[in-house]
Amino acid sequence: MLEICRLTVVESLRRRLTLALFAATLLLVGLTGWAFSEIGRLSSLQGVERLMQFSVLLLFLMLLFTGMLALTAVFTAAAAVAGELESGVAAAILARPLRRGAYLFGKWLGLAAVVGGFALLAGAGELLIVSRVAAFAPPQPVAALALITAQALLMMTLSLALATLLSAVTSAIISTVAFFLVWMLGTVDLMGVALKYPTLMTVGEIGKILLPTNALWQAAEYYLEPGSLVAAAQGLGLGGNPFLAIGPQPPAVLIWAGVWGGIVLALGIWGVVRRQI
C-alpha cells in the first residue's frame, strides 16, 4: 500500500503535476495580493464597511479557490485511477501479492498528499498575503483551511471511487457536475432561509446529505468572517446570504462529511475488487 502511495506521489512529480500546482499557487497568491492591495488603495471605505468589503472579497476569492481545488482533485484522481486500470499498468501491479483494497487506499493516500498539500499550501498562501497586504486576518484560519482541504479530499474520493468502474473523463465530469449541483442546492437552501420557506431548506438539506462539500464550505466560511461582522449580522437577523454565514455548521454535518468520505472510499474499494482487470 505504501509503495502505491509512493508511486502516486512520484507520478505527480514526474508528470509535472506538482510543478503546475505550485505555479498555480504562486499565481493565485500573487493575484490575491495584488487585488487586495489595489482595493485597499482605491477604496474610501473605513471601519466596519471596509471590514465588510474585505471579508466579502476574501470569501469570494476563497469560494473560487474551492471550485478550482475541486476540479484539480477530481481530474487528478480520475486520471490516476481510471488511467492505470484502462491502460493495463494496473494488470501487472495487481498480479502482485497486493489486495485491491490496499491498492486503492494507497492511491487515495498518495493523491490526498498531493491534493491536500496543494489545498493547504495555496490556501495558507492566500490568507497570509491578505493579512500582510490588507491587514485583514480571518479569526480561525486553521479551521477554515482544514475544512476547505476536507472539501477537496471529498471531491477527490468521489472521483476516485467512480474511476474504479468508469472512464477518467466520465468520472471527472460526473464529479464536477455533482459538485456544482450541490453548490446550487446550497444556494437554494440559503434562499429558503432568507424567505423562510421550508421546502427550499429541505432541498438544501438533501443536497448536504448527498454530497456534503457545500456544507463544508459554509462551515469554512463562518471561520473566515470577522467575529464583529457575524455578531452584527446575527443582531440584524441577516441570513441566507452566500457571502455571509451567521453561524457555524452543526457538528453532525462535519461528522457526516467524514462518514460520507469513508462510505464513498469503501464503495470505491468494492468497485475495484469487483472489476475484471
Binding site: L7, G88, A91, P97, R99
Partner: protein, 308 residues
C-alpha cells in the same frame, strides 16, 4: 481435487497449475468453457489457440485478475487469486504497459517492493533481471523512451524478477524481432533448466513447438487437445530409403514409391517398423534410412480446429 493434484505430480508436490471445469461467462458470452488443466511443476506448458479462443481470459483467471463464474483451480497449491501464490508468480501481460514516467530499473524496483522483496535486494534483483532480458545499460532511461520491443523485454524482466516458481507469459514475443524471439526462447530454456514452471500463452506455433513439453489447445473457450508435445505430434507411417526391392513388392507390404529409392508406408504403426525392415532385408533390399513421420504443430493445429 487435492488427490488428483498429487497424482499429477507423482504424489510429491501439488501441480503448478490445476484447474477443474474453470469457466468464465460475460453475460451470455462464454469466454472460457470448463477448462481442466494440470501443469506439472518444472514443465514448459504451451497454451495455444487462435485469436479470441479464451487464452488471455484463462491466464487472468489463473492470476486472480478475473474471477471465475464456475469451476475451481489451484496455483502453486493455493486457491486462485490468493495473494500468497502471486508472491511466487511472475507475469508478463499480453498488453504490457508500465509506468512510462519511471525508469526501467525503477519499474523493476517497484515490482520488487510489491512482491515483498527486502529493500536491500531490490536494486541487485532489478539489475539482474535487466541483464537477463538484454536491457543492461538501459535501466536508467525512462520507460516512455523505450521502443515497443524494449518495453516487452522490460515486461519479461518484471516477470522474471526474484526467481518466481511459476512464470506466466502471455504472448511474450508479440513485439519482438527475430533476435528478440530467439532470446526469449533461450530464456525459457534456461528457466526450464532451473526447474521453473513456464506457462506460455501464444498463438505462434513455432514458438510453442520449439520450447514446450506439453500443450493444451483452446478454441472458442474449450480445450480441444491436450498432452505431451511428442505424442501429439506423432503421426502414423514411415518413409524408407531403400533400393533392390521392386515396386510390386513394396506395394504388397502396403507402401508406395514417393521418390526414387524412397518408399512410403503411411499406415504403418510405430511398433511394426522392425518387422517391415526385416521383410525388406529378406527381399534383398538395401536400406539407407528409416524416418518416422512427425506432423508439424501447424498441421496438427489445423487438424484439431477442423475436427472441432
Amino acid at each position: 481435487m487435492a488427490q488428483s493434484q498429487e497424482a499429477a505430480a507423482g504424489g510429491t508436490a501439488p501441480a503448478a497449475i490445476h484447474t477443474e471445469l474453470l469457466e468464465r461467462r460475460y453475460g451470455r458470452h462464454v469466454a472460457l468453457h470448463g477448462l481442466s488443466l494440470v501443469v506439472p511443476r518444472g514443465s514448459v506448458f504451451g497454451f495455444l489457440g487462435p485469436n479470441g479462443a479464451g487464452k488471455t481470459t484463462a491466464v487472468k483467471l489463473l492470476l486472480g485478475l478475473v474471477r471465475p463464474t464456475g469451476g475451481e483451480g489451484m496455483v502453486l497449491g493455493l486457491p486462485l487469486g490468493e495473494p500468497a501464490a502471486r508472491r511466487r508468480i511472475g507475469y508478463l501481460p499480453e498488453l504490457f504497459r508500465y509506468q512510462e514516467w519511471l525508469s526501467g530499473r525503477e519499474v523493476l524496483e517497484a515490482h520488487a517492493a510489491l512482491a515483498g522483496m527486502e529493500r536491500g535486494r531490490r536494486r541487485a534483483a532489478a539489475e539482474e533481471a535487466l541483464a537477463t532480458v538484454g536491457l543492461s545499460g538501459e535501466g536508467l532511461r525512462r520507460v516512455g523512451a523505450y521502443s515497443k520491443g524494449m518495453q516487452q523485454r522490460l515486461g519479461l524482466a518484471v516477470a522474471l524478477l526474484g526467481d518466481p516458481e511459476l512464470v506466466v507469459l502471455d504472448e511474450p514475443t508479440s513485439a519482438l524481432d527475430p533476435v528478440g524471439r530467439h532470446d526469449v526462447r533461450t530464456i525459457i530454456q534456461n528457466l526450464r533448466a532451473k526447474g521453473t514452471t513456464v506457462f506460455l500463452n501464444s498463438h505462434l506455433l513455432t514458438e510453442i513447438e520449439a520450447v514446450c513439453d506439453e500443450v493444451a489447445v483452446l478454441d472458442h473457450g474449450r480445450v480441444i487437445a491436450q498432452g505431451g508435445l511428442g505424442s501429439l505430434l506423432q503421426a502414423k507411417g514411415v518413409d524408407v530409403e531403400v533400393e533392390g526391392v521392386s515396386q510390386e513388392e513394396i506395394g504388397r507390404l502396403g507402401g508406395t514409391w514417393s521418390a526414387p529409392r524412397n518408399a512410403s508406408f503411411p499406415e504403418l504403426a510405430e511398433g511394426d517398423v522392425p518387422e517391415l525392415v526385416a521383410r525388406l532385408v529378406a527381399l534383398g533390399g538395401r536400406i539407407h534410412g528409416v524416418t518416422r513421420r512427425r506432423a508439424s504443430l501447424e498441421q496438427r493445429f489445423l487438424d484439431w480446429l477442423e475436427v472441432r
